[in-house]
Amino acid sequence: MDWVGWAILVVRVAIVFFGLLISVMLYIWMERKVIADMQTRVGPLRAGPRGVLITLADGIKLFFKEGITPTAADHPVYAVAPILAMFPGFLAFCVIPFGTSVTLFGREIPFQLADLNIGILWILAMTSLSVYGVVLAGWSSGSNYPLLGAVRSSAQMISYEVGMGLALVAVLMYSGTLRMSELIAAQDTVWNVIPQFPAFVVFLIGAIAETNRPPFDLAEAESELVAGFHTEYSGIKFAMFYLGEYVSTVTVAAVAVTLFLGGWRGWWPFDGAVAWIGPLLWFVLKITAVIYVLILVRATLPRMRYDRLMNFGWKVLIPFGLVWVMITGVVVVLPQEYGNRGRYIAGAVIVGAAALATLVAPLFSHRPASEAEPGGQPEGREVRA
């Protein structure tokens, strides 16, 4: 690569980094405004028009606040944890295509940092790394509530990662590729959300749990754990946790858009030299829509109890994901093997399986009282698998 190529690369990275930061700023404001609306408050109002600069003001405030390190803290780990919480969200965004491409200085510049041929795997690997920030923060604080938050969140994130991974497996089986650009090309006519709707739901639930957002924010349940894993953090280090959480929210929304909602595809309102603006606008619009849904979920649902969270993850989400992967496999492979006839066989098998499931499911839905767990918590209205 010559120096122009390097310069373009640096500029691209910078644009993605700062674009992500600015969008995070705006989405935090949006979240606060929407929740305020739903609770008939006004929300942030003073900083900037309609309070849009509130996140910037908060950031500056936190930057100048004193950072306190607890005496019992494990210093190197305590200092590294916020960084580890922040970077996976940024890294995962690298493989997201956020537009088509633009030709500048005689070079074609794609709107995507890296088109890895194992894009989905990269996203999974990065989300799996995001657990470290939370776990290490909780442990290194040398304090009880953060430790409890860390234990909760590590169990929760590992559990829901499996469900989320299964949803991604279904999508990649259906599209037949791990590369993000090919995934979007495969959604040329129909967005994946239509044939893969169950996987979309599983993915969104898993994503909410992975990003520790309400109603799955057990790691920082303020009614039980003060503030969970970041209780002992203050100042700029706390700001990094806050930022990391919202960066992963934006990234997860971007992944949902790319995998299920056709990525930057839309109806082109722009032509010619500015044709690249259309896809970019569609991408931003779709991300905003997904985040809006996440905010609505947060504002409507109460926090889950911990045992129910685990029950739901292991007894509902993962079995459901597995069954859906199986169904997707049948639908994909049978037409390949038997041509058109295979399609009808697949349909018949699935309808038959669904009928059988509805017949058999009631047998498992009620557990007799004698089977209740020794802990003594009421198990009558337990999840129905």
């Binding site: 780990v77 890895l116 041929n117 194992i118 690997a125 790394l129 470290y132 234990v151 990662e161 020794p374």
Partner: protein, 167 residues
């Protein structure tokens, strides 16, 4: 040396040093973190070999799940984290076993892939396709055997951990 060899040297040194740090660390959680560095550099070596899929799976499984489970276990069981409670008198035995395993692996790998054949692998690219084909077509029996073993371990763990009441 080529850029690849420089990169390999750095990865090997970092990975090796942190592997030593894993066993000499005075704190179990720190040891787990050094293990993360070691596993990451192994992933980096896979990347250098052009095995992208294996590299990211290595990071996803080992760094993202297994070490997290170690940490989870350490925190949940209130295992002693400091040095004194952790120490025991079998250091020499441990070193002996370590050297034995190392020698055995070196011998086996030399037998299977002699150094003079290194050029043979240069054009090989372990794409997802190739990995899938070889696991589910050529090596499906070992694959099933390994999954069976893991399943048995899983059920064993549940049986050991579960306390059934007499009723």
């Amino acid at each position: 040396m080529s850029a690849q060899e420089y990169a390999f040297t750095v990865l090997a040194v970092v990975g090796g040093l942190s592997a030593i740090a894993v066993v000499t660390a005075r704190n179990v959680v720190h040891a787990a973190l050094y293990l993360v560095v070691t596993l990451l550099s192994v992933g980096g070596v896979y990347l250098l070999l052009g095995a992208e899929f294996v590299a990211w799976v290595q990071i996803l499984i080992y760094v993202g799940a297994i070490v997290i489970l170690f940490l989870f276990g350490l925190m949940l069981t209130k295992a002693p984290i400091g040095r004194d409670t952790l120490d025991n008198q079998q250091r020499w035995l441990g070193a002996l076993v370590g050297v034995g395993v190392f020698a055995g692996l070196v011998f086996l790998i030399q037998e299977a892939f002699p150094v003079q054949d290194a050029e043979r692998f240069e054009t090989f690219h372990a794409t997802t396709d190739a990995v899938g084909e070889s696991i589910f077509r050529n090596y499906v029996l070992p694959f099933e055997a390994v999954s069976f073993l893991l399943l048995a371990a899983l059920i064993g763990a549940i049986v050991l951990a579960r306390k059934d009441d007499a009723s």
